[in-house]
């Protein structure tokens, strides 16, 4: 896929980035960059440090060595927060609240994308009928879709998606691929982890391979 944007400063780049837990190297040193319109697939077996890499990029773990930059500037709370949308193993939503309540709260924290509304993003991920049900009554796959709806609702051009395909059926996987493609077409970028069982839609996407 050719990006509609001219090459410019990468949204996100890592320079000799490495992380060790208790002096045991988890990954790295890695060099990569994420430009507007790009998708990078992080592959590796279980325990190879995919989630850790994403948590370091998201600033939830301190980088052991090396540097992370956003728009060419060293990562800081100011340069990172609001730009990064994080979808991890944990949904980040309260199960006693409905999808609408959860999404409205997050829109309050992050702001809202132009033209996006809670109802429209829920429709896009195909579970608008569940908008007002408490999340705990939803299936695992449906909850994952609410998480995807969050990505569409909130502004933020860098998507860090940790195993977004987990718990999803074939249609769900196609949906994730379509959402990522649409996001990249509008100048966003995504870093996606997968343990390799899922065929990624974009054959030209770059891959980072982590060894256990």
């Amino acid at each position: 896929m050719t990006t509609p944007f001219a090459p410019s400063a990468p949204l996100l780049s890592a320079h000799r980035l490495a992380y060790s837990r208790d002096d045991e190297p988890v990954f790295g040193p890695l060099d990569f960059s994420l430009r507007p319109g790009e998708t990078v697939l992080v592959e590796g077996d279980n325990g190879s440090g995919k989630t850790t890499l994403l948590r370091v990029l998201a600033g939830m773990l301190p980088p052991g060595e090396g540097e992370i930059r956003f728009d060419g500037r060293p990562a800081s709370r100011d340069s990172r927060n609001g730009r990064v949308l994080w979808l991890g193993h944990r949904l980040g939503m309260n199960e006693s609240l409905s999808a609408r309540e959860n999404l409205d709260f997050l829109a309050g924290l992050y702001g809202q994308r132009d033209g996006a509304s809670t109802a429209s993003v829920m429709e896009r991920v195909g579970i608008e009928a569940w908008l007002d049900e408490p999340l705990r009554t939803l299936s695992a796959g449906q909850k994952k879709r609410v998480g995807l709806a969050r990505l569409l609702l909130l502004p933020g051009d860098i998507w860090l998606l940790d195993e977004p395909y987990a718990n999803l059926d074939r249609h769900g996987i196609d949906l994730v691929n379509a959402l990522i493609a649409a996001h990249c077409n509008t100048g966003g970028a995504a870093l996606v982890t997968s343990h390799g069982a899922v065929r990624f839609a974009d054959p030209n996407a770059r891959h980072i391979h982590l060894d256990a």
Binding site: D22, D23, P62, E65
Partner: protein
Amino acid sequence: MSRSYLPHWMHWLGSPPNFYRFAGALRPWLIAAALVCAAIGLYGGLVLAPPDFRQGDAYRIIFIHVPSAWMSLFIYACMAVTGLVALVWRVKLAEVIAMECAPIGAAFTLITLATGSLWGRPMWGTWWTWGARLTSELVLFFLYLGVIGLYNAFEDRRRGARAASLLALVGIVNLPIVHYSVVWWNTLHQGSTVDWLHLSQSSIAPSMLWPLLVMTLATHLYFFASILGRARTGLLSLEGGKQWVRSLVTETSR
């Protein structure tokens, strides 16, 4: 990265294998010095020093009580300082030292409380009074227990060490406030309490002072010996499986 702000020798000592060797070499000397000082101090305090004209021989417990009380605060300060280093620079050794300070400090605090109680019984006929210093000491004991409890409640020990270090720092802001408020509270309910430690504040005869100072030196030496030993074992269990620990084991088993 940010560690380069530290002086070179600190950086060298912060490396676990270096610290392990350094502490192992220093510890026997510290223990020996602590024992010698304790022997001199106790002899001076229990034998040479004259009996107090009011308290007779009962006052002699100050040679344990007062140094322990000083240590309980000194160790808390050590814990807070190393805890700050652990939080800011994430130095593993600082985390270990801060966390190993807590049980030693709690032990000294307990000794202070127990000896104070033992002293109070013959002097004022009560095991416990809510005097300003004793109450502050009791609060300090709970602060230590909180740090120990929080540290041990974590599965990931390094994360537990950082959380407990933060608690220790909160505690150090709290301690003066506690002391001030307890003093205020005591003046409010005046007459009901006697403060055992007033004695150490008033003038003290030189023949009693020097054993007290020697005992203080002994407890400091003991603390340093103890923290070095505890930090060594703490590092070993954190770093178990590392190359330097493996080679250590093969060296000693040969």
